[in-house]
């Protein structure tokens, strides 16, 4: 039993979006969707400051795998659940598709995997298609890769070491040290969801 978390180092994110590519290929998220696709993880480009004191920053986001997740609180059927390692997951067979969790998530981590997305998934991935029914989708910390001892695909592919994944309960892990030292802090603490993804800004 672990307590998995991630640290995002905004200072070292290059904005290459390899994490988005890796995630979308591994998890078959609808990169084909209109308005820039649907993603489990995103890197947004921020323009900070005003000319001439202006700089561009890349901001990686993902499901925060909260300790007290609002999405879990509102799910009527129990489709959203928290596994023994503290990862917030969705049982697709139980997902009603009401969208309540999408509305409840204060971190914009969820999206609808719609009928047309299923068709495209089969078109692009053929027999390897992983989505077979409409459901709400979100990051799973690549729970299938963890089971085989591998890191989530986004962290494994990150060239800038901007995504650091590990067990927050293991004091020797890099994530635990960054979090315990106070260097990495969660986003939107005031909302009370207690996220397990932390940011170094």
């Amino acid at each position: 039993m672990a307590r998995y978390g991630m640290v995002m180092n905004v200072k070292t994110c290059l904005g290459c979006k390899a994490c988005m590519a890796a995630c979308s290929q591994w998890n078959q998220t609808p990169f084909w969707a209109e308005d820039g696709g649907k993603w489990r993880t995103r890197v947004t480009e921020l323009q900070e400051g005003k000319f001439p004191e202006v700089k561009r920053e890349f901001f990686p986001t993902i499901c925060m795998h909260c300790v007290n997740p609002p999405c879990h609180s509102v799910c009527p059927t129990g489709a959203t659940y928290i596994n023994k390692d503290g990862i917030v997951l969705i049982d697709y067979d139980l997902c009603l598709g009401c969208g309540y969790c999408i509305e409840a998530c204060p971190y914009d981590a969820r999206y609808e995997y719609e009928k047309e997305d299923l068709e495209k998934d089969e078109f692009y991935f053929g027999e390897d298609a992983r989505h077979h029914q409409v459901h709400v989708d979100k990051c799973t910390f690549c729970v299938d890769r963890l089971a085989e001892g591998e890191e989530p695909s986004c962290a494994a592919t990150c060239v800038g070491h901007a995504r650091i994944f590990g067990d927050l309960d293991d004091p020797k892990s890099e994530v635990a040290q960054l979090v315990n030292s106070g260097k990495a802090k969660p986003l939107g603490e005031y909302m009370g969801a207690q996220p397990k993804v932390y940011y170094i800004k």
Partner: protein
């Protein structure tokens, strides 16, 4: 901080929230009329079935809003009842159907004591339906305009106001003594409810004026929308309040009250639609780009 207007929920959810509240309130007020205002058994049966029919029509829109409407049966799998207002709502709605229908049967066969208890249970569930529609939106912590304890109160008051309007319509054509008595009781109750609704709306916007950025944005969206200022506030609240207050002081003024009721019914829908529309997420900076 990034402020983003929500787009996941729209017309369909607004229609459901409106009809759910209206149906629940019609059920509760109709049975109240039969049990406590000496209205006939047919009035009790008719209004309870009318309330359930309105609720059923609303539920159709809720099902149509699902990603795959055919999966609606999963809604009966209420495993999340300990924390989810959709799951709790399902149980309350089922209670309204069961007790409402049993009440109607008991009223038909005139099983007096049994009818009374089933009627009270149905009224309780009808009240629950009106309240839960507000609590449903209230649970969305990322949308501060919804995440306030005032919203369930506002929706409950509005639902009962529209319920009163529906009951007044049902009673408008009847001239017997009990109908007159109940009509005026409902009319008075509606005047109180509309006044209360205006107070809650005022408190809501005063809170928004002092409140956080997302609440302010929601309030600005509403105040800049003529559907809200002219449609809901002027024609859906102030006009029916004046008309009903005037009608309550005059004899033979049921037509005027019925017209005011139509405005209340339209206003009730506008309120649900506009509150859903004006939901603004308050994301931590960076999330929305």
């Amino acid at each position: 901080m990034d402020l983003v207007q929500q787009h996941t929920w729209g017309w369909f959810i607004a229609i459901y929230l409106y009809l759910g509240g209206l149906g629940g309130a019609t059920l509760a007020l109709g049975i109240l009329g039969e049990l406590r205002f000496n209205k006939s058994k047919w009035f009790g049966i008719g209004t309870s079935l009318l309330g359930l029919a309105i609720l059923s029509f609303g539920l159709i829109w809720l099902v149509l809003d699902l990603l795959n409407p055919l999966r609606f049966l999963l809604a009966f799998w209420v495993k999340g009842i300990a924390h989810s207002w959709i799951a709790r709502g399902m149980v309350i709605i089922m209670g309204a159907y069961i007790f409402g229908l049993v009440y109607a049967v008991a009223a038909f066969f005139e099983w007096t004591t049994f009818k009374k208890w089933m009627g009270y249970a149905a009224m309780f569930c009808g009240f629950g339906v009106t309240t839960y529609t507000g609590l449903l939106l209230n649970a969305n912590v990322g949308i501060p305009f919804w995440h306030t304890p005032a919203l369930p109160v506002l929706f409950t008051v509005s639902a009962f106001s529209t319920g009163c309007a529906m009951i007044m319509w049902v009673l408008a054509g009847k001239n017997d003594h009990e109908s007159e008595h109940f009509f005026h009781a409902v009319e008075g109750f509606d005047i109180f409810l509309i006044s209360l609704e205006l107070l809650i709306i005022f408190a809501y916007f005063d809170f928004a004026r002092l409140g956080n950025a997302a609440v302010m944005k929601s309030a600005h969206l509403l105040l800049a929308n003529p559907l809200f200022t002219i449609g809901f506030i002027s024609l859906g609240l102030v006009a029916p309040l004046i008309l009903e207050a005037y009608a309550s002081m005059k004899e033979n003024s049921k037509g005027l009250a019925a017209f005011a009721s139509a405005l209340v019914l339209i206003g009730g829908f506008l309120l649900r639609y506009l509150i859903v529309w004006a939901g603004v997420f308050q994301y931590p900076h960076g999330l929305a780009g």
